[in-house]
Symmetry: C2
Subunit: 483 residues, 2 copies
């Protein structure tokens, strides 16, 4: 039922499967290499489940040296490599091809160093995002980026996708919190980028690796910036009867200089779904904002007073401040169950475009118009403070043609994001999903130079094939390299 | 008297000077091209004045198209190009060679767009750092990075060097505040990176350009993140009788979760020089810290109370809180005149290494030992909060051998920074000064891949020659490219 084309696998590689698997088993402890279709089944897709394909084999290394050994074998045999964290990508970033070997970071599970004086933690990248903060908790510190999948997703995947999360409004995304990385290149060579200090001299290859979606190498160890836990946090809920006015409130808060840790937005479709599901007690209105601030009790009071002042100038339907932990949880309850609530109504496709904050009202209105044009319902629940939208397009996977309509609708929304000065992705990455839309954002010259940079790291284009770059350009580029 | 070798100029290019100048004058309004040695005199050096060389010619374009025209001519004639902002580089980043054309950004002076809703300003990059905040002032906003040279230095230079400043502890350096850039490549091609949104998809070439010291292209327009001005700010002065204890105080403040906008450190050599010069009223002690916090009056009180609590556990000689604007100015007066005060004693060389905050005490002790070994006095005045040290080595430029001794001492200090887990530069860049020390920080593999990335942007190695990369490697690389 897929509408996204993947290149035909290289038959010559498929014929050499036994040889490749044997070479991997010779270079690594044999039990780290699996190739039986029953065992590799779990690796056929990531969280973009509409697309799946069994890989040639899966390698589960435990050390940088084992990753390097696997890369060396694949490189020597000309086998494409698909790096994979926990497989939570919503954009098909870890989707294998039949002729590729998956190198998983899941067993790279070590905590190597915690240094609170210099505020960093050094980890192997297979540790999950949430467990890093868990590890830091006894020291009074945390790691800021917090994607929704943080219980499962790995630091390797976070670095590959430059992941964000609700807290990123205040603390930045992965690239703002990554200090160093150990990277295994396609040849098996290992390089160290950055370190325990921000921004060393020379070309900033660390920034380049972050968000490169497995196109340049596999990050096996990372030095992450850590932050002292705030004294406390408190959310408020603000309801408005107009998307425009809610958007205006977000822009005014941002402009005022308060930096909340989160400004989340839910539209009426999502609020209704949430109420039917978890009875969060949200007001009946067009737009619900959840704004959370952090700090000392005084700082929290001060910030909330400012937010209330701003919100009140715009006549909210409701302004509800959490007076204790229970009330705070009640405010967050609906937001945290929003995706589940939407999933009860129908299948949905979760998009990830970003727009300038001032364009939120216009963008929301246009998404409503596009929803009517495409005949598919859409709910909006997203990180409003940084303009990172997550329209959820409802469709029925069992209705022929519905996925295709949803994809066409999604592409229109992403084009709209670029049109108003935004971009195709906030935190999910390009993967296979938005690959062919890259030309909407970039000129041929822009893409050529990006691909020329990939050439430096991956001259044979073996890493994470058929992703990020438009299929046609990357195929042309790859065959040019092969010449 | 220089100890840093520069490659011999290409005689064939020198012979073609008239032809190149004529081609530039044909492609651009003739008055934008100067080549008379009397007129190009001001471009012979930057703020690393020990090194100077007259360029072949200087071009002063006013638009991206004019920069592109100049680059196209230079590329067609195989002429090296030295990009130059205000020429305030302390590392020789804008030092010309005799066979190179300087392309200055000084006349790119336009303010193109201010958008407070989406918190950005779009400028031509020849505007000075301070004038950007001046332009934003009526709107209640400012631009955070604030290098000491901010009155003179340009945004183009800030981007090239990834400049910092005292406020960077809280707000990050240039790369954390740069959202988009228009870049003219060596061929004259123009690409757009980033935009008005943070972190678009694909490879992060914007991050790569930032801090690339003119090795990849010339940035002619930039979109900068702007911030609402804080309600107020207040400094405190803390004196300690031990460098170790002062360093401990810095580490404890950072660890506590207070984020001051600045933590500045001055040692006894600097404090004495400052007292002799401006009579700032600093206490007589081994280390003076100036810690400044920002926010609402409540936030300021809260933060200063925390800082006082931390400082008091370490028995300060003095803890002085500014009670009004005059007292605040008095606290800052000495710090702001520190470089001038040191310059009254002797010539000095200003270094720029960065170390983990916890290594400050050890590093300061070792610098003292190295000072005795090399027989040259040193003063330390620096941004302690982020470990960005600025040792000032005193020497006499008129004493034969003194500069060489100062340079040897400086190299030892920078090696020390790398040894303790830091890096060669915080904000001044590599330029020619630290070019040959890059091998201290990086392996051959690390440098090879950086140079391969440069190849993509500048295959003929025409941009800012003989800088950033070790002279030997870049010469070898350049001749390999020429083959």
């Amino acid at each position: 039922m897929s509408t996204i084309a993947m290149p035909a696998p290289d038959q010559a590689i498929l014929n050499r499967k036994e040889e490749v698997v044997a070479a991997l088993r010779a270079a690594l402890p044999a039990e780290l290499v699996i190739s039986d279709p029953a065992e590799t089944h779990a690796y056929e897709c990531d969280a973009l489940t509409a697309y799946r394909c069994p890989p040639l084999a899966v390698v589960l290394p435990r050390t940088t040296a084992e990753v390097a050994a696997a890369m060396t074998v694949c490189h020597a045999h000309g086998i494409p490599v698909v790096p994979r964290g926990a497989g939570t990508s919503l954009a098909g970033g870890a989707l294998p091809t039949a002729d590729s070997v998956i190198i998983s970071t899941l067993r790279l599970r070590g905590y190597l160093e915690i240094d609170t004086d210099n505020r960093f933690i050094r980890v192997q990248t297979g540790v999950t995002n949430l467990s890093v903060s868990g590890e830091l908790d006894p020291h009074g510190f945390f790691y800021a980026p917090d994607p929704s999948s943080q219980l499962a997703c790995t630091i390797a995947g976070n670095i590959a996708m430059n992941s964000g999360g609700a807290h990123c409004l205040k603390y930045g995304v992965t690239t703002n919190n990554l200090m160093g990385a150990t990277v295994v290149l396609t040849t098996g060579e290992v390089i160290e980028l950055g370190g325990t200090e921000m921004g060393p001299e020379g070309l900033d290859l660390l920034g380049l690796i972050c968000g490169s979606e497995g196109q340049l190498g596999i990050v096996t160890e990372a030095v992450l910036r850590i932050l002292p836990k705030p004294e406390g946090a408190r959310p408020v809920l603000i309801g408005y009867d107009s998307a425009e006015v809610a958007g205006e409130c977000v822009a005014k808060i941002i402009r005022s200089g308060v930096i909340p840790v989160a400004i989340e937005y839910m539209d009426d479709v999502v609020v209704r779904a949430v109420e039917d599901f978890v009875h969060a007690g949200y007001p009946t209105c067009t737009a619900v904002l959840i704004v959370e601030v952090e700090g000392s009790p005084d700082e929290i009071d001060h910030q909330i007073a400012l937010i209330r002042e701003i919100a009140d100038t715009l006549n909210p339907v409701e302004f509800r401040e959490a007076r204790n932990g229970d009330e705070a949880m009640a405010i967050w309850k609906g937001r945290k169950s929003a995706f589940g609530a939407m999933g009860r109504i129908n299948d949905y496709m979760c998009l990830d475009g970003t727009v300038p904050v001032s364009q939120l009202p216009y963008t929301l209105r246009r998404i409503g118009e596009l929803s009517r044009e495409h005949g598919l319902e859409v709910g909006n629940v997203f990180h409003a403070g940084d303009g990172n939208m997550h329209p959820l397009i409802l469709f029925n996977a069992n209705t022929p043609g519905d996925l295709e309509r949803a994809e066409a609708f999604g592409a229109d929304i992403l084009r709209l994001c670029v049109e108003v000065g935004g971009c195709l992705t906030g935190e999910h990455g390009v993967g296979v999903e938005k690959r062919d839309l890259m030309t909407v954002q970039y000129t041929d010259d822009d893409l050529s130079i990006q691909m020329a940079v990939k050439d430096v790291f991956d001259p044979d284009w073996l890493l994470n094939p058929a992703k990020v770059f438009p299929l046609q350009s990357s195929a042309a580029h790859r065959s040019a390299e092969a010449r």
